[in-house]
Amino acid sequence: MIATTATPVPLPNSRLRVGDVLRVGASGLRTRRLRTGLSTLGVAIGIAAMVGVLGLSASSREDLQIKIRALGTNLLEVQAGTGFGRGSGTLPDTAVAMVSRIGPVTSVSSIATVAGAVRRNDTISAGITSGISVFAADPGLLDTLHATLADGRWLDAATSTYPAAVLGSVTAQKLGIVDVADQLRVRINDEWFAVIGILDPVAAAPGLDRGAVVGIAAASTYLTAGAAVVPETIYVRTSDADVAAVRNVLSNTVNPATPEEVQVSRPSDALAAQEAASTAFTSLFLGLGAVALLVGGIGIANVMVIAVIERRSEIGLRRALGATRAHIRRQFLTEAILLAGAGGVVGVGLGAGVTAVYASIKHWQIVIPPIAIIGGFVAAVVIGGVAGLYPASRAARLPPTEALRSN
């Protein structure tokens, strides 16, 4: 017998090109569109939740930051202590002059509440105050608070002595006044006051929004029957570097006799606290988003396990055509990653969309952190990879003879 053992020809290994891996992975998804769509949706919701939470908290933080910047962290508020053992509720009338002598103080203004009811006209009962307060303020208040006007003018040296009023934003809305050019008047107690200006919302002193501001001299003349108007709250603007130092000496300066009756606070602290609180909620919602993502990942694993069972004959055929175990593993892993990656893209888009819509409703600046976009997509791909690992290796381990067995 002639030796037929010809020299064993070393056969080149089976090869699957990178482009073909993607094509083969995608072809499995194309033929099962509904299932692909639904399992993609699972991941998309999880990613959208996380991107949305990150985007919304970043947008709201940005909004607070803008408010804090507008307010300035160098604004201090001085109030007379009220309550048992805390004094009379008023500050000495020398307080403004005293504070202005502190070196780093750049501006100082006072404000006081005056008893009075603001009405649209004299036929409305004085009992109906609509929750609008009357404040007496000096002309420097606008600058000290960094407040702005929606319309008209602020009080000046002249108008501070006349029956003229500047309305807070909410007040103007309640009284139905939008334009000072109409030369309207409001009734405060028994006097007519000309409306000369309307304020924008004042971040530093939100109480002003629901008030009508008149000059101190005018208040004394027309509203308190000549009694002096004593300051209740003093706003102090200092140079940025000396806020703490000024804060330390304010009580003693304002009321040297009984400094413990003076309360000093910084309005921006409240916003900073609000910002800190929103960070705490962000972690909570991120956790919920992660749970949604996990559920989405389990959904993908589930779909892939079913796909491997259903496509036994395809696996057998591919093995018969020369696919190695690694090729089969790669195919199903690619399929899972494409599935989750598509979910990631949709989710990032959805999350960004929700953020944009909600932020614009809230009039916030739209901020979507890049980490949320990149992180959302990467998280989806990783989830897909992890979810696909087991089904893919199960497909790879399936012996070709078993895969080809007719059902």
Partner: protein, 242 residues
Amino acid sequence: MTADIAPIGVPALELVDVVKEYPGEPPIRALDGVSLRVEAGELAAIVGPSGSGKSTLLHIIGTLDRPTSGIVRLAGVEASAMSDKQLSAVRSQLIGFVFQQFFLLEGMTAIDNVANGLLYRGIAPSERRQAAAEALDRVGLGNRMQHTPNKLSGGERQRVAIARAIVNRPSIVLADEPTGNLDSKSGGSVMDLIRELHLEGRTILIITHDRELAASLPRRISMRDGLVESDATDETLQNATQ
């Protein structure tokens, strides 16, 4: 177009004393020492009742499974002791499969299904499609290239599967009950195609339980209880096809 066959003098397939045992109590001996030699260019049938071991033999010849002992050579390449990865290479380069259930991928056009026969050879997609188009032309489906399997008749599907099996120019085509899912007319035309491919020089081994079909082929290897019961070459048919 001629098939790439093994070097002259080297048989397309050679089995020496192949034994296949499945573990169990007692172990099941599906093949009990099968020796077989198929020359390049032969058209042969492996015939036998179910349980005779012909499916196991198909798996071993197709390198989908390894023998417990014995030697399997395909075109001179010793495959009995190869790793799983090397066996995949053998299947992608030396063997073409035709199955009873066609195993075409739904949602993929005929030409893409045929091109899959070259997918694991690392060949560029455009070259694969060109070879697939030629193979589809060869089986008479040049006008069905963009049809998906669900738009093709049973006979057409099997022709697509045959085109896929020959697109990589294998040393041997293994056809497992190729007409088993077809009516007699389509089955007849599929067999006509197989005979034509044989005349072009291809080596084709048909596994079937259909004695009538086997009788129409030049060589019939009958299996029973894991052994070759008879191996008959019909000189007249052999001559008729030469």
